[in-house]
């Protein structure tokens, strides 16, 4: 099963989350830096892989670990799967790590993440790539 399917079924991804972002300057351009704690928050994460989009609500702690998540396919309220894994962020706001999507059926698949957080630390976007270079496009926005 491809990560595309898994992501759809399990609703893959990630919640990066983070603690209410510290009032980070919104005019970085040059010299802006991201901190590990920016990942700690509740995130809404949307996955696109060619079928209907899947979305997940996920929480990340300060270490970048996904501590809880729920993913949905078409029906809100019906959990289709969950995510697990750990992410890390560089001072240049590049986010990497592994994300495993697990469907309620028990199937799971691991993918490697490559995201970039915006300078305001309120969103990030990128791809999750699985074996065979299959990928899903991911967009996430901070919920709190």
């Amino acid at each position: 099963m491809s990560i595309r399917t898994i992501l759809l079924v399990a609703g893959a991804f990630t919640a990066l989350a983070a603690a209410p972002v510290a009032a980070q300057s919104i005019e970085p351009q040059k010299g802006y830096q991201c901190k590990a704690k920016y990942l700690a928050a509740d995130w809404m994460v949307i996955f696109y892989d060619g079928d209907d989009p899947t979305y997940c609500e996920a929480t990340l702690d300060k270490s970048g670990k996904i501590t809880s998540s729920s993913c949905f396919e078409n029906k809100i309220g019906k959990v289709a799967g969950s995510l697990s894994g750990k992410l890390s962020i560089t001072k240049h706001c590049a986010i990497t790590g592994t994300v495993t999507a697990k469907a309620k059926s028990g199937e799971s698949e691991k993918g490697s993440a490559e995201f970039y957080m915006d300078a305001a630390a309120t969103s990030f976007a990128g791809i999750v790539k699985a074996k065979g270079d299959e990928f899903a496009v991911v967009q996430a926005i901070r919920m709190k």
């Binding site: 005019e27 351009q29 990928f135």
Partner: protein
């Protein structure tokens, strides 16, 4: 391939915005009067993401002359890459415009970019409108481009 071309253009696979000055059919951003963007804000590495149609992404570099270069990948054929080129610019009001050319399997398609840069200058949101080479002129797709900062 036809489908991929459609996806590339219609889905707005990126952006190269090139043609510098916004052409007549490129809607300028409204002057929000609150924040500005320097012209050099587009000079960077970018990851362009498109979820319209077949999801895709591009790894792009914009040099100091506003020229775009890089490669794009499609989720239906993740192991093959297409070459992207073009030009892009951002004006004082953070409106981004330009042209993008994609060469896929020997076929060249072009599009224009109509987009805006966020206040933080780390994200560009907009559309890519097909202008030629693709099957559906004037069709558009949406995209998000995120800045890849290396230093």
């Amino acid at each position: 391939m036809y489908a991929k071309l459609t996806a590339a253009i219609v889905a707005g696979l990126f952006v190269c915005a090139g043609a510098v000055s916004a052409s007549a059919d490129v809607a300028p951003a409204k002057d929000n009067g609150k924040f500005k963007c320097p012209g050099k804000a587009v000079k960077s590495d970018w990851m362009l993401l498109s979820a319209s149609g077949d999801p895709s992404y591009c790894r792009l570099k914009v040099n100091s002359k506003n020229k775009i270069s890089g490669n794009c990948f499609f989720s239906d054929e993740p192991n093959s890459k297409s070459k992207a080129s073009g030009t892009i610019e951002v004006n004082n009001n953070c409106a981004v415009s330009g042209k993008l050319t994609l060469k896929i399997d020997g076929v060249t398609s072009t599009g224009t970019i109509q987009a805006n840069m966020t206040k933080s200058q780390t994200t560009i949101l907009g559309i890519l409108v097909s202008t030629g080479g693709g099957p559906d002129k004037n069709a558009f797709g949406t995209f998000t481009a995120v800045r890849i900062e290396k230093n």
